[in-house]
Symmetry: C2
Subunit: 210 residues, 2 copies
C-alpha cells in the first residue's frame, strides 16, 4: 500500500466510495460497471480508476467492479476492521447525540467510555456507555488504550483536554469544538468537524446570482 | 459570476477559504502573499488562483491578497450577506446542540424557529428559539418563508418531513438524518452531513499500513 503517496483529496473521497458501495451492497447489487459507478457517484470513471489505483488493482476490464469485494477492500484501506476503540469527552447535547445516535461500530469503532465533570451524570451511563469523571481520563486510557478520542467539550476546555489526550497517547482526536487544536508533533492526528463549511456550501447552492 | 460552470470541488473548497481568511482577518493579518496563503491552507498557489478565478479577479501580482477584501468577496460568493433564514425541525440532542452551540449568524443565517412533537417542549424555547408543534410547520413557513430547514428528526421521520418542507417551499435542507432524501426535482437542494465520512478519514490516518 503506497500510503505516503496518497493525496489528501483521494483520502477524503475514500469514505464516500465506502458509503456508496455499502448502499449498493445493501441494495443487493452484485456487480457494477465502472460507468454506472461513476454516474451514480458523480465522478468520472477515470477518476475512480485513478483513485483506486493508489491502493492496488481493482475491477476488471469488461466486468466492472464486484461490489461486495470492493466495499471490503475500501473498508480495509480505511482501517475499519482493525478493532479501533474510542472514548468521548463531553456529554453535553452534542456528545449525547453522538453516543445515542451515531453508529460508531459501522465505522469500525467500539465506543467504550465517556467523560464529563457534571456530578449529575458522572457514575451513570448515556445509552450503554459508562460516564466517568474527567479526573480519571489518564487512568482509564492507561488501562484501556483508545485509538481515538471524540472531543465534544465546550470550546474553552478544548485545548487543555486535547493536551491531556495527547499525553495519554490517543492516536486521533475527532474534534467537534470548532477550535483549531495546535498540538506539538508528533501528536495525535486531529480531524476537525466543521459544521459551518457544510451550511456555507448549502448557502452557496441556494443563493441566486445577482 | 460564472456560477453554472463552477465545479463541485471548487464549491466545497470555498468555505475553507472563507474560514481561513476569517481566521487571518481576526488575527489582524492585513495582506498575505499567495505563497504564504497556499502554505497555510495546504493548496498550491496556482490551485488557489485557479479556484478564485472562477469568480473574478482577486489578488495582485507582487502584492498578494488583501485579507479583509478577499474574505468579504468570498462571503459574498457564498451568499453569506443575503439575509438567509433557517428553521430547525427536531429538538432532540443534536437539534438542541445546534440551536445552543452553532453560530448560524456567522454563516449568514438567522435561526427563527424550531419544530417538534414533544408536548414537554412545544410552546417553550430552546435558547432564544421558540419551539412550535410540527403541525404548524406549513402555516409558519407561509408567514415566515425560510431559506433553509435544518433536519434533525429521527431517521424514520426524515422522508415525510422532507416532503413537507419541499411542499412548503424551502430552498435548502441541511440534512443530519443520515438518510438519503430522494426529493422530486425541482425541489430543495439537500446538503447531507455525514459524520461517518469524517470518522472514517480519521480511521485511515491513524491506521498503520500492514
Amino acid at each position: 500500500m503506497k500510503k505516503n503517496k496518497v493525496s489528501n483529496a483521494v483520502i477524503r473521497r475514500l469514505p464516500r466510495y465506502y458509503r456508496h458501495l455499502d448502499d449498493l451492497f445493501r441494495g443487493g447489487v452484485v456487480r457494477i460497471s465502472s460507468n454506472a459507478l461513476s454516474r451514480s457517484m458523480g465522478f468520472t470513471a477515470s477518476q475512480i480508476r485513478q483513485d483506486l489505483s493508489c491502493f492496488g488493482e481493482f475491477g476488471q476490464q469488461g466486468y466492472g467492479y464486484n461490489v461486495e469485494n470492493l466495499r471490503k477492500e475500501v473498508a480495509e484501506i480505511l482501517g475499519m476492521n482493525r478493532g479501533h476503540s474510542a472514548v468521548i469527552v463531553g456529554t453535553g447535547n452534542l456528545g449525547r447525540a453522538l453516543i445515542q445516535n451515531f453508529h460508531f461500530e459501522k465505522s469500525g469503532f467500539a465506543l467504550t467510555a465517556a467523560f464529563d465533570v457534571d456530578p449529575a451524570i458522572v457514575g451513570g451511563q448515556v445509552g450503554e456507555v459508562p460516564v466517568y469523571h474527567i479526573d480519571r481520563l489518564e487512568e482509564y486510557l492507561q488501562q484501556h488504550p483508545a485509538s481515538v478520542a471524540v472531543l465534544t467539550v465546550p470550546r474553552g476546555a478544548a485545548h487543555s483536554i486535547a493536551d491531556r489526550l495527547a499525553g495519554a497517547g490517543v492516536r486521533g482526536i475527532w474534534n467537534f469544538t470548532n477550535t483549531d487544536l495546535a498540538l506539538p508533533a508528533p501528536g495525535p492526528v486531529v480531524e476537525n468537524v466543521h459544521f459551518a463549511d457544510s451550511l456555507r456550501t448549502l448557502s452557496y447552492m441556494i443563493t441566486d446570482v445577482e
